[in-house]
Symmetry: C2
């Protein structure tokens, strides 16, 4: 059954199963924010064959990833999710089943974090190419908001988990033949990292328990290099990253060359980890709370460059630039 067979009203009925009944049917959705909390808002647009493809991503995974990208932006701001709106543009010959599975994936991702965060509205239009625009709303106490432009010289730079896994998973989906030298469990872990990335909303309860003086940062959705560069540019500082300290999937060691590892880890993107800058004493506490894949990977410097240094000389020392990351219009 195609979307064009049941029309807009028919498709709306299918989609409304995934929305709480009290938010359906008006021109706009109504949300209640807690008093004294600020509203935090983020938008991501995903386009078929640019950000996802049938070859590597099921409709459920497309939905999950679209929501995860937005929730990751909320996590990076220190905000807890309230809900999302979904603007869906699609051709009439798409299967209704595809749309239903898309919303299943979105709902699955939303529900793991907060029972109250749900799909509160959206728009449904005809278009020659599938385009999914999600806007997510969250709330945060104004003093808990994490910004990019407040990193200070001497801050430790921490990551909340491994980098490069999502990119490796994508490569395994696109070129299954490269999996020859790795075992099935490792392969599935990497593929899952690509298809079902986990936004790091677990920073919120940690911060509730421990009083951190100041955290700056962002998520690493466009790559670890991009995140560090953006923080440094916004804060007018630089950074030194210690290559050996950056957590990478163990399987990379015997599978990838150092240069491939560098490519995946620094420029792969879509790992949806957080890159945070804060004083060393507090950074050490936070890394412990985040668990074994979190680490202090470098230091903020007054020199404006972002430099990667390798004690073991497996990779050449280098200065990072924004040009190498995922640039939407240069490819």
């Amino acid at each position: 059954m195609k979307v064009s067979d049941i029309g807009e009203q028919g498709l709306l009925k299918v989609i409304q199963q995934f929305c709480p009944s009290d938010v359906i049917g008006d021109d706009a959705a109504v949300l209640i924010t807690k008093p004294e909390q600020s509203l935090v808002v983020t938008t991501d647009v995903l386009v078929d064959n640019v950000h996802f493809s049938e070859i590597t991503t099921s409709p459920e995974d497309v939905g999950w990833r679209a929501v995860a990208a937005n929730l990751s932006d909320l996590a990076a701001m220190g905000a807890s999710p309230l809900g999302i709106t979904v603007g869906l543009a699609l051709p009439g010959d798409i299967e209704v089943d595809w749309v239903e599975r898309l919303y299943c994936g979105m709902t699955e991702c939303l529900q793991q974090y907060n029972d109250n965060a749900s799909i509160v509205g959206g728009d449904l239009v005809r278009a020659p190419v599938i385009t999914i625009s999600i806007t997510a709303f969250g709330q945060a106490h104004p003093q808990n908001i994490i910004r990019r432009n407040t990193a200070r010289v001497g801050d430790a730079i921490i990551v909340t988990g491994v980098h490069g896994a999502s990119r490796a998973g994508l490569e395994l989906l696109l070129h299954p033949e490269i999996a020859e030298n790795i075992n099935e469990a490792d392969k599935q872990t990497l593929i899952k990292a690509h298809q079902r990335p986990q936004p790091r909303l677990d920073i919120l309860p940690i911060r509730k328990d421990i009083n951190f003086s100041q955290i700056s940062g962002m998520d690493s959705s466009d790559g670890l290099a991009d995140a560090v560069l953006q923080i440094c540019r916004a804060s007018n500082v630089g950074a030194v990253l210690e290559w050996q300290k950056i957590p990478v999937p163990k399987v990379f060691q015997n599978w990838l060359t150092p240069i491939q590892t560098l490519e995946y880890v620094l420029y792969g993107g879509e790992d949806f980890e957080l890159v945070l800058c804060l004083p060393y004493v507090e950074a050490e506490i936070l890394v412990q709370e985040f668990g074994k894949n979190a680490a202090i990977i470098g230091t903020i410097t007054s020199n404006l460059n972002v430099v990667v240094h390798d004690d073991k000389k497996e990779i050449p020392d280098q200065v990072l630039t924004l040009d190498r990351g995922f640039q939407h219009f240069n490819i």
Copy 2:
């Protein structure tokens, strides 16, 4: 100069001119809602050659109309605008000038209502077709929110202005030859109604001065027939509309046949007026406040049909159905 010539970072710099400087550069935007106000959220997606086309719409007008559609949804909920996010998907060979003019139009539309309502964030991605996804945020006191599902039998149905003007303007742009029998000023008024529709946010100050017990309603963006039908369906009521009481542009009288007028007025869409239901006494006050193009056009009934009745028999009496309105996947 094409978008692909300056890349994402270059295009971001162009767009950031249109955003307040304090909202730039983080993963998400932070907004402050007034205490005791609810957050009202709405999303609209516009696709090139589906919702707009180069032939009829300048980039400034595309921007204006996209924002107007969202602000109209806020007006229909009784909410005042706080800001918007813009998800823009576009091919690399679009002129940078086109994008800049798009944002000019969006900003122009936003600025007429509220100095503080601005573009607070968004996303910029590559896609084979231009797609503009706008999410607008507003705020309203919970008791002032206008919903679709609270129309009551005996309520007067009012419109805040003429219907059919936007559709007539579109026809004049697509088929300039049909303008032969009307004067230039009328022609320009109709074209402007299509290119620069005015969201009826003027309901807000009116309601502040007068204490209305209850208003239900929505905007007429998908046509007057659709609005009345949606309200009736949501409220489990019907309606009788008096054809002669529905305000239409004067120029229609000697220019269009009664059946063409019916088509434009009931099904044309995009007039962005409000269709409101409330007790007769209060409806009369509200119509006076809205000015000469507002009118009481009918009554809510317990019979579930929506009937259009013409005293003068220019058009046949008829029962309206949702099928005739703009259905995104049936065309």
